[in-house]
Symmetry: D4
Subunit: 208 residues, 8 copies
């Protein structure tokens, strides 16, 4: 009855990080800032860990929106970086779409600020071109839960799949036998409860 | 799989403001009054800024529902103004439907009080006549989150798209190169965080 | 794209009140008890006001579930009253279904306690027999928001329309010219904010 | 219009309990720990009470994820127990799928930790193989409401039905005449309010 | 170390109901309107039940503040009724203070709208004149929890005791042997959960 | 400046459990029922574990308030059990006060339902007779957070110390060397997170 | 027992606005930005309306903290304006203290960002010099409710009185006969519910 | 009237970090784990930055409570580290008290897990020995807001001052002229909003 299961495939995924800029971040109030910072950096670490082609884009960095958060710049020094001259929907920018298509990937992971604009618009546009689109909901932020829920509804109705960064990582990895240490470290760095489990475990099993 | 992307087009949009009356507003408790007032006026400013045909309608202004909020009257002195003699669903009022159709627009932005009646009913009726309908969720208010969620579900299932006023403005504008100052001012007037960004930016870049 | 607008029609509606029993009510914790009592009685008053055929049913009144709340018994002394001998889904009880079908109505308003059982089960069964089913969400209660949301999702996916008692009243009434005083009194009795508006209005316009 | 009513049938149901491990449980923060423990054990008791084939699976018990909670081990000493060597999606493990298929059941009740991974992934996979899948939402837990809502959306869109353990029990039982005492005891053990009703009732009707 | 226990004594208590006016009530948003209406009427019923001298006062009834809620007028037709010509603090009105002192009572129960003004000001003034002052917190309302908490802090520091209407009733009654039926009815009318208990109890013990 | 530290001393403590009756429990809505049941039983287990003299009291067990919860009866078969004939404040009952004083203890741990009556009143009375009184806040319940906060304020101002059952246990135990297993088991039975820690720890350190 | 009632006296009050700067405002997350902006401007309007000596101070305007919000600068062009060269506690700045003392007022209204630093520190210092200090809580903001509550506790214990801007206005005005229109307009501009009441009232009583 | 202002003085402060252990941290549910981790490390960074003597203590590291979080161990390699053999109240451990007194400081900053035990007990004990005690509330965690509020009340009544880590840093620093870069970096590392302000500011003022 429902939609078929389109499953994330690390060989067919590109990541679009849209407008995580220092000014715009002050608008995000549906997630606590400590958690939001952590979520965005976790998604960035996932992109690095799985070697996913990643595209950065911003809107008016020299205006009040402010520069891209420096951590993202540093993590992806060689990523396509599209400073849009004015298009609000990144998908309206030819260079951006070209960069997306140049990856040759069919599955898009999208996150950004604010959810109902910088995320929703390219999500809806990409769906219209038959991409499989996955919204990384907790690495995307907006004014409040009400506007978030409206944005989620619109994207969901259009066929987007809503995920969390943790779900993304797990679906991409598929099997811990591919590598325990790398992903374990990523989780430890971004989930304090998990880090605590690891630290307890290490002590207890070290026989000390 | 999902619905195709029907995108707001400023040349094909009309705005319907339904029953924002001083009495009915006291029923709105799913949004804080300071924020709700701001959201409604922001939507009105958007209608003015993009020159969107706007239709006002009220129900029993001389009864307990009270008059239309004066700010809306003043902003749209020449807009069609349908004081309905009794129809609860504005779409049951011929003059209202005529006024909507007279705009020649296919896309309708609807906001009002209360969400599950004054918004939902004309939304469902307009969808039934194949309009593309966009609910401006945060410029619409009701008794509490429970009745709001039920109303959203009903409209969503019927094919309405849920948006926020900020999303509406951004989707209508499309490109900042069309005009920075006007929309920037609108955002500054209705988003305190954005106003702060602008004020900081102005100081910092003025070299003082 | 969406579902067609099935609109409540007072000549084609029956009301099903399922298991509003004094014991079961102590399980309801997704709505405050003062508000829930008010919502249930408001729906009952609507059924009376619009003369809607109403069917009462209970489960094990002499056991811990307790008796039907006395107010409902008193309001509908002649309504079909099915004390189910054991069926959890009221629709599994032949007498209940017979009573529903005997009304000759195609549209069903359903409310009850608890939402994911006493409401959901007959809702799903009635939808399967092609009734148009409307859940009166705020006159239905359950353990917490989580179980409520799950129940809403299941009913929504199956084709039920989610409403509030206020939306129901408004959609049934359609036009205030049918009667102002009766419905006005009903609203005044069940919406304190509306009662205040009326009382202020009466004083102010009486010229005193 | 909607999905047909697929109703739980105790002769056609299997229960999948995925990764309720002592370490992973510390990640669950969308439900209070007292309630979550109660919900999981209630679901387990349901599986026992209705004699439903039940399958246990875990991921890395000797690592930080920790062992399966002992209560589940004790309740289902003879259940298939698949300690997955690395697959994150239990459905990627052949033994697990074999165990599921060996039950010969078409309806699957799934619960686990965390919702967007250990529950969602096998749910989506099972739906893709045409099982009827029911998520026991309140016996599944995750980081917070945001990631939960995203996970629910994804499963719902794919055709899963969202339920609570109480709804599951009621839909499986169908008629209290099948047995009052057994299910009554189960409810009394897991719903304090219901236990109170029973205790009051017993006293009052004992004539003391 | 702490304050001595000043206990409500039904022979030494007067009730002050300050500015429960139909307009001002629309400002109350720290309590749900259904519950607030119930709380205020419960306190009024307590005053009647215990025959406590009660004083009503209002501010500008013919202005936007609106008239006293009619239920209070009807319950206390012979109570001193001070329509203050302008004083915001009721204690600044000589007639009001005279009326209070004319009761000869030392203990004052105060409730009103809004908490930080109409309640706090006379509370602080009465404390300054060595009355024992008890704030009926849940029959008093204000803009939001933040302003309420600030108001409570100020009154508490000045020596007021914070109570609920239920606590007031219980402390005044002292012993159920004084009368079961009257107070039981009052509780049944204002506490739905209690009404349910009574209704279940009645059925169960009637032997039917 | 502040109050001197009166520290719980297991040789000088008595426990007063006031009106934890099956009917009254349905009024408790400031704590989730699963958690509240757990908290009350945890406090009872503490009283047993430390061998604290414990006094049970109820109000009208054969009326709607219902019987004492059976678990408490069973845990304290020999405890003084005062079924009050009508006094609302347990301290107004001579037998109760006698029982308290017969313990010879100066420190009283009090918990009950509802907080602002059954707990507050004896707490205030006991303070007035110079007992050191400790409110076990989370084993006491009431209508909502507002009435709870008012009750806490009143008791706090009168000199009561507010604690949780976990704090009580820890302050009574003082040193884990007195006994690890007994208190560890108590914590494991009432704190799911702690039980998980123990289960993980046991596995990890068993070398398996 | 309690603190004596120190009542605001418009002839003895000065207002201290501390660090309402465009950058620091992005840290405020215990109040919604729409409401916070409104509260701060309401307090400013009160200072103007009652002609209260007002002192502005900022910290590092040219750094990330950003400039004072322009509205405050414009409202108080001639007010003492102390741009502190480094002191975090404004009271450590001699010019600031001099300006405060130059007003000759004994009562200080303090608001600022963030509550536990820019408000608390000068509040505690001023109390130490025997000023009567009133915190305008809702015109002060901070990171979250937890840090706010801690800050309130510290100030309250030191003798500060916690108020809201509405309480301040009412206590200063004392009697509506002093002026209805001015204060009514101020309330109408800053309390949407009150504005609605006025607009309804005007219509209804105009006889139209 | 109130308590005199005891102000933090960096030359007279010691920091006590009590039981921040990897197992116990899983009990903390009144603060989100991302934020709590950040708060604890911020406090640790403050201790380093101001060179405050810091004392670490733990309870049963090799048991389920788990080891001290490694970050704290690494930050304070030479700090007194008291692994308590059993005392629950750290102040009952002679070595701990000796270490505290050896610092020669009169002001104690205390944080730990859980608030009502590991923080409250030594706080109350230290107050009893006339230390000035400051609770760093947001670097302390516990089961839920209810047990936290009770713990805060008890400490507050005993004379403790409640603070946040940000307030602590600001009160210790006193004047930005002492050092901008160091403290600015600390804030940037622990307050994402502040980091954003700095990054925007740097870009804007660099003239690029």
């Amino acid at each position: 009855m429902g939609k078929p299961y389109v499953r994330l495939d690390k060989d067919d995924v590109a990541v679009l990080l849209v407008d995580h800029q220092t000014g715009l971040l002050s608008l995000v109030r549906d997630i606590d800032p400590d958690k939001f910072k952590n979520n965005v950096l976790a998604l960035a670490d996932i992109a690095k860990y799985f070697n996913l082609p990643t595209i950065l884009t911003t809107s008016f960095e020299t205006g009040p929106n402010g520069p891209l958060v420096p951590e993202l710049k540093e993590l992806f020094p060689d990523a396509p970086y599209i400073a849009r001259p004015g298009q609000i929907n990144a998908w309206d920018n030819e260079d951006f779409v070209k960069a997306v298509k140049a990856t040759g990937k069919k599955q898009l992971l999208v996150a950004g600020v604010v959810t109902e604009v910088c995320v929703s618009f390219p999500v809806l546009s990409a769906l219209a071109e038959d991409f499989d689109v996955f919204v990384v909901t907790d690495a995307s932020g907006t004014f409040n839960e009400m506007t978030r829920n409206a944005a989620w509804s619109r994207m969901e109705q259009a066929g987007a799949q809503l995920m969390s960064w943790f779900g993304v990582a797990a679906e991409l990895h598929r099997d811990w036998r591919n590598d325990v240490e790398g992903l374990g470290t990523l989780f430890s760095n971004h989930i304090p409860d998990y880090r605590n489990l690891i630290n307890s475990h290490t002590l207890f099993t070290s026989g000390k």
